[in-house]
Each structure stands twice: as C-alpha cells, then as structure tokens.
C-alpha cells in the first residue's frame, strides 16, 4: 500500500499549501477501475482517465469536498482491469472491502460497465455510466436501481445519422445512393442492424454493402468497391482503427461523396490532428456544443492539467458524471450512498455538457448523436434535446 501512503502525503501536502492552516481531515477514498492495458486501453486513456485526474486535482486545489460542513480531500486509488470483466468485478470488490472506498466511479465501456452493474448494485454505490451505449436501459435500471446512463441509446445514434442524410437529401444537397459498411464486431453489428433498415425505410438505395472483420488491415478493396458503386453518401459503422483506415483509403481513392460518415473515434481529437483539412465535413458518432463556454473552459482546463484534449463525445459526459457526483455529495452533505443516489434521481444538474436531468429510467434523454468536423472542431449537428446544434455541411473533396 505504498502508493496510498504516497498519495496521502501529497494530498495532505497540497491541502496545507492551499488551504493554509486547514487541518487535514480524513480524506475521501475514491476508487477508479478502467483499462490501462488490453484492447480498450487507448480509448480509456483519452476519454476516462484524464477526467479523473482533472477532477481530483481541482477539488483538492479547492481544499476538498465539503461533506456536511467538513472539507475533505480526495484520495484516488486506481486499478487496471486489463479490459477483462472478471478483473473489473474483482477490482470493484477490492475497492469496497479492502480499500474502504467511499465512492467508486463507474468503469469504462458498455461491456465492463454492465459486468460491474450487479456488484455496484449489491454494494449500493451509484453507477453513473458515461461510456455505455445500450438499448436495454429500461431493463437494466429496473434490475440495477442505482445505475445511470448518460450516453444514450445505441438505436438513436444510428437512426439519427440516417436522419441527417435524409435531411441533406430533402434539401437537395445529396442524391439517393448510399454505400454502407460495418465492422463485424459487437457495437458495429448493432449499429448496422439499426442503420440498414433505417436507410431502407427512408427510401435510400443501398448501392454497396459489406462488412469486414475487426482488425482488418487492408481496407483498400472495400473503398475501391464502394467507389465503383458510385454512391452519393458513404456510411461506415466503424471502430477506432478502421475509422482511420477507411478515411485514409477514401482520400487515396478520392471517393467523391457529399456525405462521409464513420462511427466510433471520428470524434477523437487525434482524428482531426491526423487528417487536418481533409477531415472537414466528415461526420461521425457523438458531438458536443463546441460554442458553449462551459465546454470550452473544461477543454482548456483538461488540456492544461493533463496535456490531453477531450474527445468530442464521451469525455465531456465522463466529466459531467463527476460533477453530478460532486454536487450530490456536497448538497446532501453525506457520503451515505443511498441518500446520494436518491438525490441524483430527484434533481437536475448543470454540467459542462449542459443540464442533465435523469428520467424515471435513470436515463439522460438529451444527448448528442451525430457530429461533424467543421473549421477544425467536431461540432454536434444532431441531438435528442441539446442546444447548440449547427447546420450540417456538404463534404467537398479531401483537400
């Protein structure tokens, strides 16, 4: 437990420096578990971990959380679940019983959050998920009463993308022919299963359709075939490596479409950094209101504190989940998790992503579904009740 003592020493030191004469109270132990290794480590390093670092740093700089009139510092204990659900479960258990954590933060991704749901439920900690997209929110929150969802339903994410295309077609900007591809893995299959019927229902003609296995290196045959079908729009229900790969191939093949959509990771800052001006007009899953001063301020603080830019989708939601927890604890003035959970259910919260108010299924019904790279930022263009959506633009080449 050397690490803990070290943390205690540093946090106590910070407390005395910042709060001056403040007498260091018992610190609040915050448990965090998410991938640091394994397939999801890359995503967690962008979306999950930097937010925890920022939150803990800022709260401690302020002198800690105010719990019932007492200022208490945060002490964080981090575990790597190796992207393995069994490890996530074990780490949550360990945090609760061995480390006596006062708060445990929700893990990362749909799969790991759902694996941890029974144990959060049993231990009575609120689980505010910010990176889980599922269609089973009702069933899940009925069984796990303390589970909350910020990121929304996967069906909306796919259907809204199709709706953006429909709107562009109605406006006479694009034609009727769509090429659709998907990565043959869990979320990619799920999005395609919603997207395809939605395209058909909207009257689009699917001129090319295929899927490719996860980890496919050579995507050029797919792009060549897609180009040969002469589509007006290209949609890919893709994952991080292939989102980049497909974009690259589209540039090489000079795929001349007026709407280009790739799914997961299009909202990553690294996407914009890699493709620069070529990214202009690319649409993808997620989005934020980049014009909102709260988000701009948050992005600047995150970069200053951790050197990492937030992605334009789930990162802000992750930070919002921490703001919600903070407000619930400070307002109720307790670390009694049942009371904190009830407060979260009953109240609305002002966050960097705007107001968040959970419905009776513990679901945040207002979220971003589609974004687009415009002027070097990934701006939200479609939402289910958020303010600040911008007009979608037509893609004009790859220069």
């Amino acid at each position: 437990m050397k690490r803990r003592t070290l943390f205690k020493v540093t946090t106590t030191l910070a407390a005395t420096l910042v709060a001056g004469a403040a007498f260091a109270q018992d610190s609040i132990v915050v448990g965090a578990v998410a991938p640091k290794t394994g397939p999801l480590a890359g995503g967690a390093a962008v979306t999950h971990w930097p937010n925890i670092a920022l939150w803990v740093e800022e709260v401690n700089e302020r002198g800690g959380l105010n719990v019932g009139g007492e200022q208490r510092m945060l002490e964080v204990i981090e575990y790597d679940d190796q992207t393995n659900p069994s490890e996530t479960i074990k780490a949550v258990q360990r945090l609760a019983t061995q480390d006596d954590a006062d708060i445990i933060l929700a893990p990362y991704s749909t799969g790991l959050n759902l694996a941890a749901a029974p144990i959060f439920d049993k231990l009575g900690f609120p689980q505010i998920t910010s990176s889980a997209a599922t269609d089973q929110i009702g069933e899940l929150t009925e069984q796990f009463n303390d589970m909350f969802f910020l990121l929304g339903r996967s069906t909306d994410l796919a259907e809204d993308a199709v709706e953006v295309l429909s709107d562009l077609r109605e406006a006479g900007e694009i034609g009727n022919k769509v090429a659709m591809v998907n990565v043959a893995d869990a979320f990619g299959i799920e999005l395609a299963a919603v997207g395809k019927p939605a395209l058909e229902a909207a009257g689009f003609e699917i001129v090319y359709e295929t899927s490719y296995p996860l980890g496919t290196q050579d995507l050029s045959p797919i792009m060549k075939a897609a180009k040969a079908a002469e589509p007006d729009a290209f949609m890919a229900w893709s994952y991080p490596p292939d989102t980049f790969g497909l974009t690259e191939q589209a540039m090489i093949e000079e795929l001349n479409v007026k709407a280009f959509y790739t799914a997961v990771a299009t909202a990553f800052p690294s996407y914009g950094a890699r493709f620069g001006a070529a990214a202009e007009g690319v649409m993808g899953i997620g989005g934020v209101n980049t014009a909102s001063p709260e988000f701009q301020d948050y992005a600047a603080r995150l970069e200053a504190a951790t050197g990492s830019k937030p992605d334009y989708w789930a990162a802000g939601m992750m930070y919002a989940s921490l703001q919600i927890l903070e407000e619930a604890i400070e307002t109720t003035g307790t670390l009694d998790m049942a009371e904190v959970t009830q407060y979260i259910k009953d109240n609305a919260f002002e966050t960097v992503m705007g107001t968040i108010d959970f419905d009776d299924q513990n679901n945040n019904t207002a979220y971003w579904t589609v974004g687009q790279w415009q002027d070097g930022e990934f701006k939200g263009i479609k939402e289910t009740g958020r303010e600040g959506a911008v007009e979608p633009m037509v893609k004009t080449g790859w220069e």
Binding site: R3, Y79, Q82, I89, K90, Q93, G111, A115, P118, I119
Partner: protein, 310 residues
C-alpha cells in the same frame, strides 16, 4: 476400493465441504477471489486430464469457454437456465470430438497451433453469424449472485475430480499413460490411440463450455472479445503447469498460488501488472520446471533416499 483410497476420498470431501462454506463469511472480496479460483481449478484440472497424460498442449480452452457463454447468452431468453448448462456441455463436447477427430492425428506443435487458431475461428464464426442476422447485443440478466456461481463451479469441480479419478483407474487412463510415454508402442500393443485421445479431449472441451455457461450471468453483457479472449487459454496452461499435471490435485496447487499472486500484483502495481506477470512466468518456468507436483515428488524422493541410507 483400498483403504488408502477411502482415506483420500474422505479428505477430498472434507476439503470440498470447507470450501463450500466460504460464502458464509459474507465477504464479497473473498467470494470473488473464490470464484476465480474455482473457475480456474475446474478449467486447469479438466485441461490436465487430457494434456497431462498425452503431453498434447491444448490452447483451445477459450474456444470452448466462449461457446459456453454464447449458448447461455443466446438461450437464456427461451430456455431455463438449468437446461442450458448440459446443452453447453453437449455442444462443447461435440465440437471437441469433431476437432479431435480431425487433428489429434497431428502431433506436437501442429496441434498447439491448431488449437490456438480454433478460439479465433470460433469467435469469427459467432461474429459472422451475428453479422448475418443483424444481432443487437447479448445480455444475460439473471438473479444469480456470486455465491450461486461459486457453488455451481465447486459442484462442477467435484464432478471433474470424480471423472478424473475414474479415468485414472480405468483401462482408458492406462492407455493414455502409455500413449504419453510412447505413442508408437501404444499403437503396436493394439491401443486405439486416436479414439482414446478424442475421448479425453471431449471431456475437457465439455467442461470448459459448461464453465463458460456458468460464468456468463456474471458478465451480464457478452462480447466476442471477452468470451473468446486468448489470455484465458494461456492462463489455464500456465496454472496447470505451475501445479504440475502428473497428479489429479496438481493443477489445484498451481491455481491457488497463481490467483493470489495475480491478485497481489494487480492490487499493488496496477500500472505494471503485465510486466510483473511476465517476470513471474519466467521465474516459474526456470525455478519450478515440474511444477509443485515435481517439487513434491523430488523432495519425497530425496527424503526416501535419506531414510534408505540411514
């Protein structure tokens, strides 16, 4: 049965009874460790039933485990839980039989490579099917707690030990030991080597599939990447080898220290877990080539020699 065997059976039953009391402690952390230990004990012991005597290293555990989780995941909406466990075992067994008939004529490294590929192939097969049918996520929502899962795994462990003990005493077990020593000799004395090997491979495949089915409710949401993780196959082999495959209890004495070591490393050094595990593997292979069973036999041999000299 001989008197000694009665004694062993008595001890085994007593140990099992003690292990079954663990959930009564009410300590969630201990129970989650217990689930890990029970799961790997079943997997490593059934793995050693086949690989121990035949010396065929199988890396197919993840394939059967994954099949089991998907049987549970896709069947839980339509069939009762208890029916799905034997179905998982049956499907795992049939797959093992097919694979065994096709590959157990291969020897050594060819077999290892094939079994490693099998997990990936099954995973791609499942994914292909989901992609064709427009699948929308596999959820296993049940009321089963860690306690229930632990007890089920313990029951399965008892069953595996009984089967292993039975095989050890049977003609099949004798035949397998001969195959392990020299397959040509075995064939010449009239042993149907292929059939004997397939029979044991089926047992280990079926057991791994049932374990997958029992674990599925714990994951709640089943993804190919977690159900078919190749790490599982390697962990099972390493744990079994750490314990030693020469005796039925060998894998157990590998699983327990390994799980505790893993736990100690991941809780104390969350940022260097993989590195330290790699170093531990090296140390184990270098310092304990025959596993704990080999060490035990060596010490026993030395003690016997000493008493003989005295």
């Amino acid at each position: 049965m001989k008197r000694d065997e009665w004694k062993t059976l008595g001890w085994a039953t007593a140990l099992l009874a003690v292990a079954a009391l663990l959930p009564l402690t009410g300590d969630g952390y201990l129970i989650s460790l217990g689930v890990s230990i029970a799961m790997y004990t079943v997997l490593a012991t059934s793995w050693a039933l086949f690989s121990g005597p035949t010396h065929y290293i199988s890396l197919a555990t993840a394939a059967f485990f994954g099949i089991g989780t998907y049987v549970m995941g896709s069947g839980i909406e339509v069939l009762p839980y208890w029916v799905l466990l034997p179905i998982a075992g049956l499907i795992g067994g049939v797959l093992a039989a097919l694979v065994g008939l096709a590959t157990l004529r291969l020897s050594g490294v060819y077999f290892v490579i094939f079994t490693l590929g099998l997990a990936e192939m099954t995973r791609q097969g499942v994914t292909w099917y989901q992609n064709q049918t427009g699948h929308k996520g596999t959820y296993v929502l049940t009321d089963l707690t860690d306690n229930d899962i632990y007890w089920q795994l313990l029951g399965l462990a008892a069953l595996v030990y009984l089967v292993g003990w039975g095989i050890g005493r049977s003609r099949l077990g004798f035949a397998l030991r001969i195959i392990g020593d020299d397959e040509d000799v075995a064939r010449h004395v009239g042993i149907n080597t292929a059939l004997s090997k397939v029979a044991l491979f089926v047992v280990s495949g079926a057991v791994a599939a049932i374990v997958g089915a029992i674990i599925a409710p714990r994951y709640v949401y089943i993804e190919p990447s977690t159900a078919f993780t190749p790490m599982l196959s390697f962990q099972v082999v390493i744990m079994a080898l750490l314990g030693g495959t020469g005796r039925l209890w060998g894998p157990l004495v590998g699983v327990i220290p390994f799980t505790l070591l893993w736990e100690a490393i991941s809780s104390s050094f969350p940022n260097q877990t993989t590195l330290l595990l790699g170093l531990s593997f090296l140390a184990i292979v270098y310092l304990l080539p025959g596993g704990f069973v080999g060490l035990y036999d060596r010490l026993k041999g030395r003690a016997a020699k000493r008493s003989a000299m005295a």
